[in-house]
Symmetry: C2
Subunit: 382 residues, 2 copies
């Protein structure tokens, strides 16, 4: 049995003052349903990926809340794993389909972040981390700032090299009409942008965004030729606190998730054409390409500064959506958006940012500072 | 392939001032691991059922949070569906096992409710309902109070008959050393207890409790003789708002979940010996026995007043744990506790509250006012 992507949908990402979580979910879902040529009543199960609604509003029972907003009265649930909520939701959808507990599952990742004060949102986001880190006064940029600094200390990467991921992703974002930021940036702009948590500056960091993405998955024994199949899925875990990890310049959860997903997909790393990876901060993209095995440990920043992963170069292309940095990072939506972007690439629908002849793709989603990671491998059905 | 319950654990339920969510989870899990004769490292996936942590603390990423507290660094995630979070978590565990995405899954339901002011907790609990109901000033007892009144209006049930479920469940609770309330109550005590939301009085309502329950599920082709098997699982949904439902004296989500679970289990309703059902308020138990088909619509209150479901009577026995009313209702833990109680009954471990020759059991878990329902059917392996 294969799992086929029957339809995808995505809203613009950004500060969407006119929208709430329900209107965002409706927009993404209506596109996915149209794409799949089915109706909401044809769905067996709705899985929602969301992190912040219980913090920003009084809402819980979030599966039923989004379901009611969609006029869907079948089975609904929320899956949460901080910024990896979307990836986990897709993984649980695959589980229901493989278990034959559902035939068609709708996954919606959604986050409405701009209605809170930025300082409040920052505090809510620290919910992804440990109590000890919160009580010590750490912020998310603070924690990733430590990883960034340690990486530079350990491997001698220059400040300029540490900017390459943001520059590439803003270039890709400039080609994505749904990206939060559609403008290119330079090394100089990054290194003179506001200091957020030394050594992290504003333009090393992904923004606070609103947005939703939706995907319809179906179990089938006869996949449609040319459709996109979910070929492999992996998940890894690690301690919530950085202080209790063996390394803070590598995420063991990513390594575990990737190993499992690649093994299941039965393809080689070198066959992957396009990757959406979790660049919540520039250091996160550097660690990801090393942990996913594209580049040797310690060489990621340099490789990116040499153009690795940029549209127009040979080899794998990274974060064509603009990544979390430029496309935006509505946390519960991100993991679903990544799979939507890969699906669109494999279907040849990506317009100016299309990767030629993309056949296999990978999505890499991280929760918090790496206590959760989810990897999915996709491929075009022959 | 069968899914076998390899181990169960449960903390005392009540106002546990010395405990937090991590110590509660650790206590329940240590029992379940000992029962299953395995170690935390033998677990593939941890699924947590919890509703209130994001409201009562700054914590999100709750799967990883509980996992770290248990010293578990495998795959972890949170499943949320308000008071049905525990039942949904078990259903997702079955899905992972049937899909062969895991061999051994640990499900932990946990809730620490007593650290907030009761008025705050009441507000947090309204997160299980719709924004419209919250903005209209409704409380949970208020919503169930409407159902209670409508039921009496429709079917002419007397005030005394509406007390029977609380009386039975307190009697059962008096036999359960882990129950929040272990004292019997009378009709007079109920009808003179404080008015909470007319016509609901204090002793019609389940309490605010702390507690955790854990269960270890394993996929096997050769179940151990005499062990407990998960035979059927069902889930149903409905609109989050009472006002948009066809009926408020019946939960269509329960009916859908039950139909699916019974069908899958391949047994008849009449074969079920013991049931844990979702009696968050006395009216909820009345609706449940009608929606599950044990009693005709409109006759539930009367049947309970005649002793239906009470230990010592013939036929099915209801809520031997004391139910949500007397055992307590730590919301995320409840759905897991129900399955633990049924497993213990089928294993003959229930001491003074043991149902003789219990072979088949059912657990019924509801989210909010019925936008989510989950039903599991269990049986002893022959």
């Amino acid at each position: 049995m294969k799992i086929e992507i029957k339809g995808v949908g995505i809203t613009p990402f950004g500060e969407l003052w006119e929208e709430d979580e329900l209107s965002l979910a409706r927009l993404a879902v209506s596109q996915a349903l149209a794409d799949a040529q089915c109706e909401i009543g044809d769905i067996d199960v709705l899985i929602v990926g969301n992190m912040l609604l219980p913090h920003t509003s009084q809402q819980s029972h979030i599966g039923a809340h989004i379901a009611s907003g969609l006029g869907f009265f079948g089975q609904a649930l929320l899956v949460e794993g901080a910024c990896a909520s979307g990836g986990l939701a897709i993984r649980q959808a695959l589980s229901l389909l493989h278990a034959k507990m559902a035939h068609r599952v709708l996954v919606v990742g959604v986050e409405k972040m701009s209605d809170s004060q930025p300082s409040e949102t920052t505090a809510f986001l620290m919910g992804a981390s440990s109590e000890g880190e919160r009580l010590a006064g750490a912020t998310f940029p603070g924690l990733y700032g430590m990883m960034h600094r340690k990486y530079q200390d350990l491997y001698g990467a220059s400040d300029e090299e540490m900017c390459a991921s943001s520059i590439k992703n803003h270039f890709h974002g400039s080609l994505n009409p749904k990206a939060h930021f559609q403008t290119e940036i330079t090394t100089e702009q990054i290194l003179t942008s506001a200091m957020i948590a030394d050594p992290l500056r504003l333009l090393h960091c992904s923004p606070i965004s609103d947005g939703a993405a939706a995907i319809i998955l179906e179990a089938t024994t006869r996949p449609t030729k040319g459709s996109v199949l979910m070929m492999g899925s992996g998940q890894g875990g690690d301690d919530l606190s950085l202080i209790r990890r063996k390394s803070i310049t590598s995420l063991s959860a990513t390594k575990k998730a990737f190993k499992q997903a690649l093994l299941e997909s039965d393809i080689k790393l070198s066959q992957i054409d396009v990757v959406e990876l979790h660049d919540c901060f520039s250091i996160a993209e550097i660690m990801a390409i090393e942990d996913l095995g594209f580049v040797e440990a310690g060489k990621g920043a340099h490789a990116l500064s040499q153009g690795f992963g940029r549209l127009g170069t040979k080899g794998v292309i990274l974060n064509t959506s603009g990544g979390l940095k430029a496309c935006g990072h509505p946390v519960g939506a991100t993991g679903v958006k990544q799979v939507v972007e890969i699906a669109q690439q494999l279907l040849g629908r990506s317009g100016k940012r299309q990767v030629a002849k993309a056949t296999f793709g990978l999505a890499h989603n991280v929760g918090g500072t790496g206590a959760t990671a989810v990897v999915h491998v996709m491929g075009r059905s022959e």
